[in-house]
Structures are given as structure tokens and as C-alpha cells.
Amino acid sequence: MADVKKLLKEYEHKLPPSILLDLEKSLPEKITPARLKKIFERVYQEYITSVAEPGEAVGLVCAESIGEPGTQMTLNTFHFAGVSEMNVTTGLPRLIEILDGRKEISTEMMEIYLNDPFNKGKDIKKIAESLKETKFDEFISEASIDIAQLTMEIKLDSRKLEALNFEPEKLIKILQKSVKACSFKLEGDKLIVKMSEKDENINDLYKFKEKIKLVYVHGIKGIRQVLPVKRGEEYLIVTLGSNLKDVFKLEVVDTTRTRTNNIFETNKVLGIEAARAIIIDELYKVIQAQGLNVDIRHIMLVADTMCMGGKVSGINRYGIVKDKSSVLARASFETPIRHIMDSAMMGDRDKLSSVIENVMLNQVVPVGTGLPGLVTKVK
């Protein structure tokens, strides 16, 4: 064991901490010091070969490595036929959505992991059902308007009430809170709603009926569908629609693993590092689903670039291109006149420090063989 400690110390500045940690975990119990040393040497060699050399155009290689398989992607989105009733955006549309840094994504989804007794399947259906945003119209089995009395008769769905463990009285309380100007009365399983103001006509009553149907009663806002799934040994809940903040408030939820596919929401609730992780995760998932193979480091570089400014910015002229320092580089990518005019007004300076400007001027680009310079000044 002492040998391991010694070697770990020795390689402390040669290898990144995460690799050292992995290495320490995966070492066998019994091992000769000579072999141990060999393992460390081998890991170091592997690490060195994986490191990008100075002057390597990592950004460009990354762009080509993601862009080329992207052209092979077809627009068709896969359907989970029959399995889960959910139709998730994948493929090229989803890829574009992530890279553009769109605020509103087409399919919001959450994976809610649960704390101990519940992740073994305890009350899983009940928990799932309680998450779902439920509106009043789901409790209605029949609704009619009494024209003579100018009242509304609502027959409540007793099965639904039971499923959510709801008393009719509790329902009335919630309704009363959000809908003013009327009174509720319970007659058997019927709910009689009476408008408090006398001069209401039938038209208004009809509108009111439609309005009351949309009253939020129960669950978490924004969660439109829930689906308990068993993944491996564990039960979790997949939802359509996302509300990370409110889901985290629930005690049964494992907040360390619960995730949403909404990058902006993740950024707001958990911060930029979490957003970066989600970008990597989501991009990698899309590419994997298409049966393509892109090195994860390319994707990590994209995610890093998108989150570099402390906020999530897309790969387009409103996002990362806007933050380029070079006028010529910005002008060479969409809306050139605007960039030139703005820069002229501000008296901007272009230091010609990246590739595209130097190609424009027919100068040596500062990557690869063009990067190194002379240390000694030539007079």
C-alpha cells in the first residue's frame, strides 16, 4: 500500500487528479511493486498520447468531427412505438436545438430519481401520479348548466378523487382559493356552483364553466405526463414537461441525480457547471442514438465553449460568434456590414490573432507550424 501512496505522490503533477483517483480505485489488491510501477508508466504514456499538442487546431477539428457525422443524420425522429407513449425529439432537430442554445425546446423531459425506500418501487405509481399537474377538469365526470337556476352542476369523478386521496371538501377549498365570485355546495357526489353576482347571464356562466376547468388543483406545474420506469434494479419516474425547482422541493426525490433535458432550466437552478454537463450528456445521447461515433472530448469542448461566458450561449451569431474579439472574424460569419459599421463607430482594433483573419490577409495562420515564433528579437 505504501508503494501506491508513493507512486501517487510521484505522479501527482503528471496526471490529473481524476485519473489518479480512478487508477487508485481500480488497482488490484495484491500486486508486485514492479508491476505497479509498470501500470503507472503505461497510464502516463496513454495520457500523454491523448493530450493535444500546442498549436493543434482543436476547435476546428471539433467542428469537423461533429459536423461531418451530422450530415449523415437524417431528419427522421425515432418514435418509441408503444413503449412509453412519449414522442421525444431526437436526431438532427434535437442536435440543432442544443447547439443553437434555444431557450424553448420541443420536448422537455425529466428523469426523477427517488430516495431509498421509494426507488425500490414503493408507492411508485402513487408518487408518479401526485407529480402530474392535475387540473380541475380531470375530476369532472359530467358538467351541466341549469338555465333556470343559473347554476352549474358538476358530477365529480369519485375514482379520480380516490386515486389522489382527495376529499371533495379539500377540492372545494382549492377551488375557492383560485376562483372568487362564486359559491360551492356539495350534494352527494354533485357539486353545485352558484355565481355570487345576480346579474350573470348564461353566456358568462358558460365562459365560467370553461374557466373553472383549467384551475390548477394538484401536482407540479409543467409536468404533463408521468411514467414510472424500471432501469436496472431501480425505479425512477420519467416525465414529459419539466420543473426542476419544484420537484427538488419534494422529500422523496434524490436531488443529486434528478435531471432535466432543459439546459437553461438546469443553469438557473443548479448553475453553469451543471448546464455544461447536461449539454455534454444530451449531445452525446443524440449522437449515440444515431449510431454515430464522436469522441466525447469534441463534445466537451463544444459544451465548454457554450458555457464559457457564465451563461449558456448558442453556436450562432447571437451566441459565441458575438463574443469573438476580431471584427474580421465576426464579419466573415453572417451580417458583415453590421459588424463593420459597429466596429468603425467604436474604433475597434483587430489583433489578427486567429485563423480566419489571417486567411483573409494571406498571412500565416497561428496554428500548427504557424504558431511558434522567435524568442530573440531581430533588429
Partner: protein, 600 residues
């Protein structure tokens, strides 16, 4: 009550829709109504649509009554005699035209065998789902639909015998095949379209095998002996046109040999083929730069002042000259006049195109390919009876494309050639594969079309039997001679000083954005710079104001237009395109300044 719409506009109501529709149809069949009127009863919504508007596709079908087609044996006999025509049948109501809507109310039988009491119509022939060109594909019913499309597209590009009077026609860009043949494997459309009068291919012996790897990726190997015997030989015709244009002030072009004092006079050598009238003589062999029609034009900008000025009164040379890479033989000269009554000269040039590596050929099944190798006849594989293939086709073209018809034509072609008859290969009604195989076997060949072949180099027998037979091959109009292009140095554009674009202008091959990326990705920056050096210029830059300075060659020094002479000016190497960008920025009232710094 059923609503009735005429050309999609509401026109009225009828109480008995069935009766109304029947009446309209029977009146049409009796010739009381136009044959292009169609009526459609939409039963779900109970509406009747009557259509007589233009632009609807309509198609003819045989009318069927009580399970029997109205077209009888008697009709057919009369048709064959010529006593009856198509329009008679339409008038008699034997054949009627239906549009897409009326078809919904009908039940159409594919053939006479499947007719029942319920059927209302019958197809004239199943072949009419195809156009003329697609019907020309033999054994089309054995193929994937895509291959039929491609087969017909290829046939449209084939070189043939497009017009019998081609010798006196002045067509732009046409080809004539020298020895066209009628296909042995025909479809009925070959007879209908009188294909024997304008054939466009040749019957060749095809062996399906590989040969030294020169027929990979759809290439074909061609027998040099066959080429020398005239296989795939064609002529390419192209006109050169000149006319005497009239200009303001009574000035006019003149077609003649230009005088030596004319502005822009070429060398005497270039005019050597011109006769006294300034037009080239027939059968002259012209090369690039040679003048075909000599012409002089009046000076371009003639102002009143210039009339007394001797130097500017010189006429302009405007002859029709052969451009870069062009050559040919003068075939035909035509002298006539244009709409305004001015002299118009047309000269037709001819090029003989002998098949060479890179010329495109195709069978009729979308199996196109370019020549990959021309093999001397002695090196071609041969059979025991001494037959050598004209073309060697790669077997790798078959499995993925599944053009079964290609293989069937090969066997049928062999049968047809040996039996001395044409074989009917009309899609859906061709002779059957079994019969053809039987016939081939009775002719003394292996019924699967394979033969023992011997290696042309060594004379040794091949270990496998080779699939060999006769096929109809077409030469396509894409020939390398008209496409081949390369450039090391050459003309540049005036504005950007970058190389011109396109083969006609002897242009460069663009190193585009993505190609640039490959250099960057490899880190080969200096090589990248060199590749983009085509428009590099050295400009003097004023170091105090950052603007491009002026170099005075007479005094051999530079000065700045704003700062004068007493400033330091350095020469900088940039692309001309960037200098142009700076100039354009200045025109936008943006002042771009260059701050210079030593790189080292």
C-alpha cells in the same frame, strides 16, 4: 338532393345522383358530350363534381360492360386493316378518357383474364404506366422502379441518329453515332416509335468479369479492336456564328480578312485558313486560336471630336476565333441573312470522337460506366470458338442494384444473335426467361449463359465459367475530351486578381472553405498560405496613418497621400482581395488603418 359542382363551382342540385351520373357518362360515350368531360360522384358527402377544365391529366381505358370489354376481336381486325382509327373507337364509346376523380368510381382490370361482373374498365396495356422512354427498357418488370427511371434517363443522353437530315442542319451541340444498330432485344415501343429509323446504340458482346481491376467502381473495359472497327465512334457538330451588326451612325461590321492596321490584329498565321471573303474554307483543320470567320467592327466610342483624329479612327478586330482547347474540322459553311437583312455566316465544325478512357457508356438498365481501360484485342479473354467480348462489365454492379433485366438481356441477346431473330422484351409481356433459356440450350450453349473463357495474356483457361452474351450498349454524350481540364498558371479576374472560374475560361480549381480546414487541421499553416498566394501583392503602407501609400516608380520611392514623403513607409505582403476590402471599406466611409509591427 345531391349538390352538383361544375369545375368546382356550385351549379345546382339533382334528385337522383346515380341516374344523373349514368346519363352524363352515356351521353359522353355516345358523343353528345365532349370526350374530355369527367364526372365524379363523391358518395361520402353525396356531391357530384363535373370537370371540363383544362390541365387535368386524363388517360384512356377500354370500357367494360357485364364483364366483357367493348373492344371486340372485330374491332381489332378492323384496326389492323386500317378501316378503323383510334378516334373512331373514342367516338363509339369503346375507349374513354378518365381523370383522377372519375377513376375513383371505377374498377379497372389489369388484364382480360381478371375481368369480373363488377369491373367497369380495362387497361389497354399495362405498359401505359410508363412513358415512351421507360417503355424502351427491356424486361422492365424484373427490376426495381428506380432502375427503370435511371435506365430511361440514360437513354435520353445517348448518342444516336437523331435526324436523317443532320447534314444540312445547323444544330448547336449535337452528336451522331457512326454505325448505329437496331437492338436485338426489343420492346413493343421500339416498333411504335419506329426506333429502327433513329437507333442510338450498338449490339456488343459483353462479358461479366473483372479484368486487372480496371473495371472497378462501374468502369468498363473496352476492346481496342472493336473500337478500331468502329464501335462507339461518333461525330460532334458545333456551329460558329458571325453576323454583320449595324451601329448608330450608319456604321456596320464587315466580314473579311482584317487589315494589318486593325486594332487587335492577331498574327498572320491565325488567319491562314480564311478565303478572300473572310470565311474559312471547308475541310480546313482548325486549332485553338485560329480564326474561323474574319470580322472587323467600327471603333467602339466614336465622338464627333474623334472624326478628325486619325489614331482613334482605326477599326476593331472582332473575328470569331476558336477558344482555348477547341479544335475541329470545318464541315459546312452557310451564308444567309438575319432578320434585319444583314449578312449572317454560320460555319459548322466537326470533331470525330473515338472512344477513349473516360468516355461514358451505358446499357439500358441504368448500368452506366466510363471506360477504364482500352485493351488490345490480343489481350482480351476469348472463348473456345474464338469470340472475344467488346466490353467487360464488372459483376459488382449487379447485386446491390438488383438489375435482373440486365442479366436477362444478356442471355436473350445471345439467343437472339444465334437464332437470328429479334426477341420481344416488352415490360409485363415479354417472352419468358424459361423459353429463352431453352432456346439458348437448343442452340448448343449452356442455358445459364456462361462459357469457358481463356485468359488473353496467358491463354490459360479461367477457373470459373464466365457469363457472356450480347447486349445493346449506348454511348452517352458526356465525353472526356469536352470535360478534361487542368491549370498551373492562367488568366485572373480583373477585380480581385484571383484566378478565373470554369473550364471555358481556363480557370483554377477552387480550394474552398472545407479544403482550407484540412490544412488548418493538419497545422500546415505555411503550406496553406502558399496555396492562397494566387492573389498576393506587395503594397507600401504608411506607418504613421496606416493607409496604403503610393509607390512612385519614376523617382523610385513611396509617399503617403496624406502624410507626404517624410514618413516611414514599409512594404507589406497581403492578398489583393484584402486590399480590395480596405478600398471598399473606405467607400463605406470607414477608415481602416494598418498598424505595422515586425513579426520577428
Amino acid at each position: 338532393m345531391t349538390d352538383v359542382f361544375l369545375n368546382n363551382k356550385y351549379t345546382g342540385k339533382v334528385s337522383d345522383p346515380e341516374d344523373f351520373v349514368d346519363k352524363v357518362i352515356s351521353s359522353r360515350r355516345m358523343g353528345k358530350l365532349s370526350e374530355s368531360i369527367n364526372i365524379f360522384h363523391h358518395k361520402k358527402t353525396d356531391q357530384i363534381f363535373v370537370e371540363i377544365s383544362g390541365g387535368r391529366p386524363i388517360r384512356p381505358l377500354i370500357v367494360v360492360k357485364d364483364g366483357k370489354p367493348l373492344l371486340s376481336e372485330r374491332h381489332i381486325a378492323q384496326l389492323q386493316k386500317g378501316g378503323l382509327t383510334w378516334s373512331d373507337l373514342v367516338k363509339q364509346g369503346v375507349i374513354e378518357y378518365l381523370d383522377a376523380a372519375e377513376e375513383e368510381n371505377t374498377l379497372v382490370a389489369f388484364s382480360e383474364e381478371e375481368l369480373t361482373k363488377e369491373h367497369t374498365h380495362m387497361e389497354i396495356t399495362p405498359l401505359d404506366i410508363f412513358g415512351i422512354c421507360t417503355s424502351l427498357v427491356p424486361f422492365g418488370s424484373h427490376n426495381h422502379g428506380v432502375r427503370l427511371n435511371q435506365g430511361s434517363k440514360n437513354q435520353k443522353q445517348s448518342i444516336g441518329f437523331y435526324a436523317t437530315n443532320f447534314l444540312v442542319r445547323m444544330d448547336m451541340d449535337v452528336n451522331i453515332l457512326h454505325y448505329p444498330q437496331v437492338p436485338l432485344i426489343k420492346s413493343i415501343m421500339h416498333d411504335i416509335s419506329e426506333y429502327e429509323k433513329h437507333p442510338s446504340g450498338q449490339n456488343v458482346v459483353v462479358a461479366v468479369m473483372s479484368y486487372e481491376g480496371y473495371n472497378m467502381e462501374d468502369a468498363i473495359i473496352i476492346n481496342k479492336g472493336s473500337i478500331e472497327r468502329g464501335l462507339g465512334r461518333s461525330s460532334y457538330y458545333r456551329p460558329v456564328i458571325a453576323e454583320e451588326l449595324r451601329y448608330s451612325g450608319g456604321l456596320i461590321d464587315e466580314i473579311s480578312i482584317p487589315d494589318k492596321d486593325v486594332k487587335g490584329y492577331k498574327s498572320e498565321e491565325d488567319y491562314k485558313f480564311l478565303e478572300g471573303d473572310g470565311i474559312i474554307s471547308p475541310e480546313a483543320k482548325v486549332e485553338e486560336g485560329h480564326v474561323v470567320i474574319g470580322k472587323v467592327s467600327p471603333p467602339r466610342f466614336l465622338s464627333s471630336l474623334d472624326e478628325y483624329n486619325l489614331t482613334s479612327n482605326v477599326k476593331r478586330e472582332s473575328s470569331m476565333t476558336l477558344a482555348h482547347g477547341e479544335h475541329g474540322v470545318v464541315d459546312f459553311v452557310l451564308l444567309t441573312e438575319n432578320n434585319e437583312g444583314n449578312k449572317l455566316v454560320q460555319v459548322r465544325l466537326r470533331n470525330m470522337c473515338v472512344p477513349e478512357i473516360g468516355d461514358k457508356f451505358t446499357s439500358r438498365h441504368g448500368q452506366k460506366g466510363v471506360i477504364g481501360l482500352v485493351v488490345p484485342e490480343r489481350d482480351m479473354p476469348f472463348s473456345a470458338s474464338g469470340v472475344k467480348p467488346d466490353i467487360i462489365f464488372s459483376p459488382h454492379g449487379i447485386p446491390s442494384r438488383m438489375t435482373v433485366s440486365h442479366l436477362m438481356e444478356l442471355i436473350s441477346g445471345k439467343t437472339a444473335a444465334m437464332a437470328g431473330r429479334f426477341i420481344d422484351a416488352t415490360t409485363f409481356s415479354s417472352e419468358t426467361e424459361g423459353d429463352i433459356r431453352k432456346e439458348l440450350s437448343s442452340l448448343g450453349f449452356r442455358e445459364n449463359g456462361t462459357e469457358i473463357l481463356y485468359n488473353g495474356h496467358t491463354g490459360k483457361q479461367f477457373k470459373v465459367n464466365i457469363f457472356i452474351g450480347n447486349m445493346y450498349y449506348l454511348k452517352l454524350k458526356h465525353m472526356v475530351a469536352n470535360k478534361m481540364h487542368s491549370r498551373a498558371r492562367g488568366p485572373i479576374q480583373l477585380l480581385t486578381r484571383q484566378p478565373t472560374e470554369g473550364r471555358a475560361k481556363e480557370g483554377g480549381l477552387r480550394l474552398g472553405e472545407m479544403e482550407k480546414d484540412t490544412f488548418v487541421a493538419h497545422g500546415t499553416s505555411i503550406l496553406l498560405k502558399e496555396r492562397f498566394d494566387a492573389d498576393k501583392t506587395i503594397v507600401p503602407v504608411c506607418e504613421s496613418c496606416g493607409v496604403i501609400a503610393i509607390y512612385d516608380a519614376r523617382k523610385n520611392r513611396s509617399f503617403c497621400p496624406t502624410c507626404g514623403e517624410n514618413v516611414s513607409i514599409s512594404n507589406v505582403e497581403i492578398s489583393y482581395a484584402f486590399k480590395l476590402l480596405l478600398d471598399e471599406l473606405k467607400s463605406l466611409m470607414v477608415y481602416p488603418r494598418m498598424k505595422l509591427k515586425s513579426k520577428y
